[in-house]
Structure formats: C-alpha cells, structure tokens
Symmetry: C2
Subunit: 190 residues, 2 copies
C-alpha cells in the first residue's frame, strides 16, 4: 500500500472542533486544518465531501456532548434544585465550548441524527419537568431554555460586565427562583 492512511474521520473531526473553539466558525479553514494534521487540504475531501459536511458532523458531535452533560440530571424528575443543577450544566457547556454550542444552535441544515438528539433532549426535559410544571411543562421548558440561551448570549456580549449589572451566577439563581416562584403560583390555578 503506497499510501497508508495518515488520518481518519475521527481525527479530523476532533482537530476541527479544537480549531473551531479557537477561531470560530468563520475562522475554520480546511487549509489550516489540513496543515495542523500535516496533510494537504485535498486529503480532507476523502473524509468529508465539503466544508459544510464537516460542519454538520461537528454540530452532531455538539448535540451529543450537550446531551451527555445534561443526562445525569434528567434521569429523575426535576426538583427545584434539579432545575438549578440543569441550568448550571447547560451554562457550563455553553461556556466551555462556545463555538460548538453556537454551531449546534444555529446549524440549520440539521441532519436526522442531530434532529433525533435534539428531540430526545427536549422530551426528557419536558417529561421530567411535569411534577413541577404539570400541564404547562412544555411552556415552562421553553421559557427556561430561552432564559438560559439568552443568558449565554448576553454574557458573551459583555452586557453582564457593565458596571451596576447583576453578575451571571447571581442572576442565574435569581432568575431561576423567579421562574420557580411563578411556577408555584401556577399550581393553585392550573
């Protein structure tokens, strides 16, 4: 075999995610990626037919990692403390892998695998929220998700750094308690 494989799809994907977190999605070039792997750019095309295909594979990986991060908290019904823990893990993921989180959230050409992972996550959250939220579980889940996703965005834009602004950890606890308090008033009149 004159040309033994010098790389693999897994290796490329892993290196691509590392580069993604360093330079963002727009800054990820196949040339630089190939150079890091000591390959010519052309070699990558044997494993991913296009740049978009590589991005899609990375998005799937992001979805899987997020699910893994949240799953331990979703094995049982969510208590108020469980909601706090779920939120902390969600934010930790978004902070640790900001570009991958972005890619997962904004990749519009969802593969079926990615769609499946998302739906699995969504259904678990809605179900485990039912003891707390009853019939409004889906609405509460969406409100919670919006709040968390927004917190990630505002934190990233530096809004929380302004003088006089609440800080993210404090605001997270406050916001969640506000939601949970509102939830309790809902139980009386569902």
């Amino acid at each position: 075999m004159p040309y033994p494989a010098k790389t693999s799809a897994e290796q490329i994907l892993s290196a691509a995610i590392t580069r993604l977190e360093q330079g963002g999605q727009a800054g990820l070039s196949l040339r630089a990626l190939a150079a890091e792997l000591k390959l010519t750019p052309n070699a990558l095309y044997r494993y991913f037919g296009s740049r978009e295909a590589l991005l899609a594979a990375m998005a799937v990986q992001g979805a899987v990692l997020l699910l893994q991060a949240l799953e331990p908290v979703l094995r049982n019904s969510l208590s108020p403390q469980g909601v706090h823990e779920l939120a902390r893990r969600y934010l930790a993921f978004a902070r640790t892998r900001p570009a991958l989180y972005d890619l997962y959230m904004t990749c519009d050409s969802l593969s079926s695998e990615q769609q499946q992972t998302y739906e699995q996550l969504w259904e678990q959250v809605v179900q485990q929220l039912q003891p707390l939220a009853g019939s409004h579980s889906a609405q509460v889940a969406m409100t919670l998700w919006s709040y968390l996703h927004g917190l990630v965005g505002l934190e990233r834009s530096g809004v929380y750094d302004s003088p006089g602004s609440p800080k993210p950890p404090q605001n997270l606890a406050f916001g969640l308690n506000l939601l949970l308090a509102g939830l309790r008033t809902l139980e009386s009149s569902p």
Copy 2:
C-alpha cells in the same frame, strides 16, 4: 470642483444597513456596497476608514433605533401590561432587523456613543421596573432581557418550529406571566 461628492456618509450607512439585513455581517463586502452605490470600492474609504469603522457606525445606528422603538413604553412606570408591550416591541425590533440587532448585541468594540445609548436604555428599564420589582429591579431587568434575547435566538434557530413546541407569541405571554407571577411573590418577602 472636478469631483463633486457622489455620496455621503449617511447614504453609505443606509445602504450598508440594507445590505447587512440581506446578507448578514459576514456577507457585507465593501466592494459590493460600492458597486450598489455606483462607486469604486476605494471611494468608501473617504467616509469610513475601514470596514470595522463602518460596522461600528451601523451598530450605533442599531442602538439608536432600538432605543427609539422602546422609548414610548419607558416614559412611565411599567405595569404588567407595560412589560408585555415592552417585550413585544423588543421582539419586533429583533425580528424586523435581525442582522442589525445581532451587530448591536455582539459588536465588542463599543464606541462611547454606543455605550451611552445602551446605558441610557438600561437605566430607564431598571428605573421604570421599580414599582413592580422594588429593590430587585436590576435583577428582574436582566432576567427579562436574558429571556427575550434567548427567545430571539431560539426562534431564529428554528427551535420553536419543532412539532409539539410552544409557539413564540404564546410562549412570550406565558413566560412573561410566569416572571410577573414570581415577582408578586417577591413583594411579600423582599
């Protein structure tokens, strides 16, 4: 005058914002912008010293427009209905000018003018929320902002389009009412 002005900073800015909304920030090129104005790319540099300077000017414009959209609701203390109205206007702005909204939120090289507009907006919201939120006004404002910003992002990513998901208008009303309900329980024990 052998070379009368064929354009102006205002005209360039206006055309740039239009193009921004069509192709996004990454898709805005000085070459294409100049072509639309029937100018050579070089001519733009007389008005904006660099692409970044143009982006900053656009972000300022975005801040001003957002403030204008929200100001009528912020002239008096916010009632619960006022919060709903404020949120509707905020979302309307983010939907109507998504790329400008993005630019405003993510532009990290804030000019002092932009910073000023932002602080003006923030202080107005915090102040007008006080009758509802008391001493937690800043925390509530940040929670509200995070929720709204997140809703914009999730709506854009298509999450709200999934089958079984709540729809944005319903979730907006639900989420706001949840926050407001939580707020009422806070009044008893500030």
